[in-house]
C-alpha cells in the first residue's frame, strides 16, 4: 500500500473481511479515509498520530491519544498507525465485534501506564478524562479519593488494590450498554 491512492486489491479485501469484524463496505470506506490522511510525498505507509487525530470521529474524544497508542504497532510506539492498525481500530469499535474484544481493548485504553492493571493512578486519570477539563465538572480531591475507593470496593474482587482484566470484564458484562456505546462508525 503505497502513498498513491490506489484501489485495494480484491484478495486483500476478502482477507481483511475474514480477519476482522468489518464488512466490505466498511473496509473500502476505511481505505478511502486513510488514503486522504496519508501524505502523498512521504515514503512510509504510516500516518503520524497528529494526522490521525484530525479525523472528526476522534478529534474531540478525550481518549484519542490512548486509542492511537494502543493500536499502534510502531517500534517507539509513537501512536502512528498503518492501514492495518487502522483496520484493527475500526474492527474493535465496529458493530459486530464481540463483547470480549471490546472489553479487552477498553481495558488497554484505560490502562494509562501500560502495566496490565488499573491502579489508583489509572483510575484517577480515567475519571479526569470522563469529567472534562473545566473547573466546575472536575471532582475535588476528596470526591476523587472517595470515588476510587468505591470503585475498588465494587470491582476489585481479589482485593489486591488494582483492577485486572478479568475483574474489568466482570464489571463490563453487567453493563449491557457498553457494547452499544463502545462504537465508532466512519
Amino acid at each position: 500500500m503505497g502513498g498513491a491512492a490506489s484501489q485495494l486489491p480484491k484478495e486483500m479485501v476478502s482477507e481483511y473481511q475474514e480477519l476482522t469484524f468489518l464488512t466490505k463496505q466498511e473496509i473500502l470506506l476505511a481505505h478511502k479515509r486513510f488514503s486522504e490522511l496519508q501524505d502523498r510525498d512521504s515514503l512510509s505507509s504510516r500516518v503520524p498520530m497528529e494526522k490521525i487525530l484530525t479525523m472528526p470521529e476522534l478529534k474531540s474524544n478525550p481518549f484519542r491519544r490512548r486509542i492511537c497508542h494502543v493500536f499502534s504497532t510502531s517500534e517507539p510506539n509513537d501512536g502512528s498507525l498503518t492501514f492495518e492498525d487502522f483496520l484493527d481500530l475500526l474492527s474493535a469499535f465496529s458493530d459486530s465485534a464481540t463483547l470480549e474484544i471490546k472489553s479487552h481493548y477498553a481495558f488497554r485504553i484505560f490502562d494509562f501506564d501500560d502495566d496490565g492493571t488499573l491502579d489508583a493512578g489509572d483510575l484517577e486519570k480515567l475519571v479526569n478524562c470522563l469529567t472534562g477539563d473545566t473547573d466546575e465538572t472536575r471532582l475535588n480531591p476528596e470526591e476523587m479519593r472517595q470515588l476510587i475507593k468505591n470503585i475498588l470496593e465494587e470491582s476489585d474482587i481479589d482485593k489486591d488494590g488494582t483492577v485486572n482484566l478479568s475483574e474489568f470484564q466482570h464489571v463490563i458484562s453487567r453493563s449491557p450498554d457498553f457494547v452499544s456505546s463502545f462504537k465508532i462508525v466512519l
Partner: protein
C-alpha cells in the same frame, strides 16, 4: 463490610523488584503480552476441539494445563520456549477445527491483523480441492450476499442521518430512531404479505361495485370514494376468483364455456389465512427479539457496582461533536457526584415522619393520575355513544363525514395533553433513583393509552358490530376500518402539531422571551410510547384495511424526517442518565405485550365470535370468519381421510391459541437463563485466573528459596540477586490470595442473588 482488611495491601509502596514480579503475574499480562493471549486462546481452542468431538491426542496436552503441582518448575528460564510451544499448539488446534469455527476464532483474537494473517497462512497454507470449496465458495457466496445487501441499501439510506444524530445526541436518542426503523421493517413485512396475497388478486379481478366521486375530504375521513376500492374489507369478494371465467361469461352469454381450469383463488380462505399467518410470524419475531434483549440486559439487576459501571462503561464513543462531548462530560460529572452523595446519604436513615410525608405525596400523585385517566376514559365512552346517536341527524353528507372526525380529535387531544399533566404531577414527587421515575412515568402513560384503546375496542366491537343498523350501516367492518384510518391519521396530524408547537415554538419562546440558554429536552419515553400506540392502531386495523400497513409506512417515513429535523434544530439530549439497552428492552416488551397481544386478542375475538356482515366482505353469509377455514379443512378431510392429522392440528393450534402463548413464555425463560449462564462462566474463568497467579507465585517463591538455600555461605559475598523483602512480600501476597479465595467464590454469588 470488609473495609479494613484490604488496607495493608493497597497502601504498600512496593520496591521495583516486587513491581517487576507483580507485573509478570499471569493475571496482569493477559491484557498485554502476545504470549499470554496465545496461551489463553490455546486453552479455548482446546476446549472447542473437545466440544466438537475431534479429540486431541494425549501428546497435545501440555503439562501445565493439568492442575497438579508436579508439572511446576523452571518457570523463569522456559518462558520463551513455552511461548513457542504454545504457539505451535495453537496452530495445530486451529487446523483441527472446522473452517467456520477457525475463522470465528481468528477474528475474536485480540491480535493485530499482521499476526492473524501469519497464523492463518500457516493453518491453511494451500488450497486443496476440498479447501477450495470452502474458501472460494464463502468468497463467492459472500460476493452474492454483498450484492444483495447493496441492493437492500435503502435500509442503509439512513445510516448517515443516524450517525449525525448519535454524534450529537448519543445512544439514548438514537434508540428512538432505531426503534422507528424496526417498526418500519415490521410494517414492510406486513404490507408485503397482505399486498401480495390480498390486494393484488382482488385488484386484478375487480369486483363490480358503484364508484363514488372523489372529494378531497376522503383523505382525512377515509370514507366516500375509498369505500369502493381495495382499501377496505367490504370491497373483497366472498367468491373464488377464477381466471378466464369472468371475462368469458361477460363477453359471450351463449357460449358453454364452463371449463375454468388453471388458477383459482379462494378469497375468503386467503383472507383468513393471510391475516392469521401475518400475525403469527410477527408474533414469533417479536417474542424472539424480546427474549434476546431480555437475556442481554437484565442479567443482574441488583444495583451493585453502579459506580464502577458508570466509570468504566458509560462513555459514549459515538459522540463526536465537541459541544456534545462537553455536555457528556458535564452529565457524567453530575451523575458521579449525585451517586457519591447518595452513597454518603444512605448512612442517614430517614425519620418516620419524613417517610410518611413522602408516601402521602406519592399517594396523592397516583390518585390524581388514576383519577384523570378514569375521567378521560368515561368521557370517551359517553362521547362515542353520543356521536353514534347524533351522527344520523344531519342530512348534509359533508357535515356527517366531518362529524365522524370528532372522536379521533378528542382521543388525540387526550393523548397529547395528559402526559404533560403526568409530568407536572411527577415534579412534586421524589424518587430514589432516576430510573424509577422513568418507569413510573412510562407506566402511567401506558395505563392511559391502554384504557383509552380498550374503551374504543368495546365501542367498535360491543356496540357497532353488535348493532350496525343503529348507524344505518350495511357494512360495519368497513366502518370500523375507516374509524381506525381516521385515528391513525389524526395521531399523525397531532404529532406534527406537537412537534411544531411543542418544540419549535417553545424553543423560540424560551430563548427569546424567557432568555434561557437551554433548549427543550427530547423526551424519549413519550415519543416511543406514541410510536407504540400508532403501531397498535395499525395492527388493530389490518383485518379491516389490508392496505393500512402501507399507510403506516408512509406515516413513519414522514415522522422520521420531521422528528430528525426538529431534533437538530430545537432540542438537546436528555440530562438524566438513560440506560439505552434496558430501555430498548422495555420498549420491545411493551410492543409485544400490551400492544401486539392486545391487537391479536382483538383480531382473534373478531374472527372467532363476531358475525360478519351479510352484504359485504369475503365472509358474508358465514356465522363467523373462522368458519371459512374450518369448512375448508373439513372438506379436505372428506376428500382425503389421510389428512385427519391436519384437522387435529387445526383444532388444537388454531382454535386454541393459548397453546402458542405457553410456548412463547417457555422460550422467553430459556433466553433469560442463557444470559445468566454467561455470567457464571465468566466467574469461573476469574477463579481459574486466580489459580494461575497462585501457581506463578509459588514457583517464584520456590525458585527464590532454592537460590538462597545452599548459599548461606555466599551471603557474605554480597552478590545477592535476591532481596529478602521480595520473598517476604511474595509470600504475603500469596497468603492474601489464599485467604481471599473463599471470599472470591462467595461474594459474587451472594451479590448475584
Amino acid at each position: 463490610m470488609q473495609e479494613e482488611r484490604t488496607e495493608p495491601l493497597m497502601d504498600q509502596q512496593w520496591s521495583t523488584a516486587t513491581l517487576r514480579v507483580l507485573s509478570s503475574m499471569p493475571s496482569r499480562t493477559i491484557g498485554r503480552s502476545r504470549g499470554a493471549i496465545i496461551s489463553n486462546y490455546y486453552n479455548r481452542t482446546m476446549q472447542l476441539r473437545r466440544r466438537r468431538q475431534s479429540r486431541p491426542s494425549i501428546r497435545d496436552f501440555a503439562p501445565s494445563s493439568r492442575p497438579s503441582i508436579r508439572g511446576y518448575g523452571g518457570v523463569e528460564t522456559d518462558a520463551g520456549v513455552d511461548d513457542e510451544r504454545k504457539w505451535r499448539q495453537l496452530v495445530i488446534n486451529l487446523q483441527n477445527l472446522p473452517v467456520s469455527d477457525r475463522v470465528q476464532m481468528l477474528r475474536c483474537m485480540p491480535l493485530s491483523v499482521d499476526e492473524k494473517r501469519e497464523i492463518r497462512y500457516i493453518t491453511s497454507p494451500y488450497l486443496s480441492p476440498f479447501c477450495f470449496f470452502f474458501f472460494i465458495l464463502p468468497n463467492g457466496y459472500g460476493g452474492m450476499v454483498d450484492y444483495w445487501l447493496s441492493l437492500l441499501s435503502f435500509l442503509q439510506l439512513w445510516q448517515i442521518a443516524l450517525k449525525k444524530v448519535s454524534g450529537r445526541f448519543g445512544t439514548g436518542v438514537l434508540s428512538y430512531f432505531v426503534f422507528l426503523k424496526t417498526l418500519l421493517l415490521f410494517n414492510f413485512f406486513l404490507s408485503i404479505v397482505t399486498g401480495f396475497f390480498l390486494v393484488l388478486p382482488q385488484a386484478i379481478y375487480p369486483a363490480l361495485s358503484y364508484a363514488l366521486k372523489f372529494q378531497g375530504l376522503e383523505l382525512l375521513t377515509g370514507g366516500g370514494y375509498f369505500t369502493s376500492t381495495v382499501m377496505y374489507y367490504g370491497y373483497y369478494t366472498n367468491s373464488t376468483l377464477k381466471k378466464d371465467c369472468i371475462w368469458q361469461q361477460a363477453i359471450s352469454q351463449h357460449s358453454n364455456q364452463t371449463a375454468c381450469h388453471s388458477l383459482y383463488y379462494n378469497m375468503p380462505l386467503a383472507y383468513f389465512f393471510t391475516i392469521g399467518f401475518a400475525f403469527f410470524i410477527t408474533g414469533i419475531i417479536l417474542v424472539y427479539t424480546m427474549s434476546k434483549s431480555f437475556g442481554q440486559s437484565f442479567r443482574i439487576d441488583k444495583s451493585q457496582g453502579v459506580l464502577a459501571m458508570k466509570v468504566f462503561a458509560s462513555w459514549d464513543f459515538k459522540v463526536s461533536k465537541k459541544s456534545s462531548i462537553k455536555m457528556q462530560c458535564e452529565n457524567i460529572s453530575t451523575q458521579i457526584k449525585e451517586l457519591l452523595s447518595e452513597l454518603a446519604l444512605q448512612q442517614n436513615t430517614m425519620g418516620l415522619l419524613q417517610k410518611f410525608g413522602k408516601s402521602c405525596v406519592h399517594l396523592l400523585a397516583w390518585t390524581m393520575c388514576v383519577g384523570s385517566t378514569l375521567a378521560c376514559v368515561l368521557a370517551v365512552f359517553y362521547f362515542s355513544d353520543y356521536i353514534r346517536a347524533r351522527v344520523n341527524d344531519t342530512a348534509n353528507p359533508l357535515v356527517k363525514e366531518a362529524g365522524l372526525l370528532a372522536l379521533p380529535v378528542v382521543v388525540s387531544t387526550i393523548n397529547l395533553l395528559l402526559p404533560g399533566f403526568f409530568n407536572a404531577v411527577a415534579w412534586m414527587e421524589e424518587y430514589n433513583s432516576p430510573s424509577t421515575s422513568n418507569y413510573v412515568s412510562i407506566f402511567r402513560n401506558l395505563m392511559l393509552k391502554v384504557s383509552v384503546l380498550g374503551v374504543l375496542c368495546y365501542h367498535w366491537l360491543g356496540r357497532i358490530a353488535h348493532d350496525p343498523t343503529s348507524l344505518g350501516l350495511q357494512c360495519w367492518e368497513s366502518f370500523v376500518g375507516q374509524e381506525l384510518y381516521r385515528f391513525l391519521l389524526m395521531d399523525f396530524i397531532f404529532t406534527m402539531l406537537d412537534t411544531f408547537f411543542g418544540e419549535f415554538l417553545w424553543r423560540l419562546f424560551s430563548q427569546k422571551a424567557l432568555k434561557r440558554k437551554r433548549k427543550p429536552v427530547f423526551d424519549i419515553a413519550r415519543h416511543v410510547l406514541e410510536l407504540i400506540y400508532g403501531q397498535t392502531l395499525a395492527w388493530l386495523g389490518v383485518l379491516f384495511i389490508p392496505v393500512l400497513p402501507i399507510v403506516q409506512i408512509i406515516k413513519l417515513l414522514c415522522m422520521f424526517y420531521m422528528k430528525k429535523a426538529s431534533l437538530m434544530m430545537n432540542c438537546q439530549a436528555p440530562r438524566k442518565p438513560w440506560r439505552a439497552c434496558q430501555m430498548t428492552t422495555i420498549f420491545i416488551t411493551l410492543l409485544c405485550f400490551p400492544s401486539f397481544l392486545g391487537a391479536s386478542v382483538f383480531v382473534t375475538y373478531t374472527m372467532w365470535t363476531i358475525k360478519p356482515s351479510e352484504s359485504c366482505g369475503p365472509f358474508r353469509g358465514l356465522n363467523s370468519m373462522f368458519q371459512s377455514g374450518k369448512r375448508w379443512v373439513e372438506e379436505l378431510e372428506k376428500g382425503n381421510p389421510n389428512l385427519g392429522w391436519l384437522v387435529w392440528a387445526h383444532t388444537y393450534l388454531v382454535e386454541n391459541p393459548f397453546f402458542l402463548f405457553v410456548g412463547a413464555v417457555i422460550y422467553f425463560h430459556t433466553q433469560v437463563l442463557d444470559g445468566q449462564r454467561k455470567i457464571i462462566s465468566l466467574l469461573q474463568e476469574q477463579i481459574k485466573n486466580e489459580g494461575e497467579d497462585k501457581k506463578f507465585l509459588i514457583t517464584k517463591l520456590q525458585f527464590i528459596h532454592e537460590q538462597k538455600r545452599p548459599l548461606s555461605s555466599h551471603r557474605i559475598r554480597g552478590a545477592s540477586e535476591v532481596k529478602p523483602e521480595d520473598s517476604g512480600t511474595a509470600s504475603l501476597l500469596l497468603k492474601k490470595m489464599t485467604s481471599s479465595l473463599p471470599s472470591l467464590i462467595f461474594t459474587p454469588w451472594t451479590s448475584w442473588h
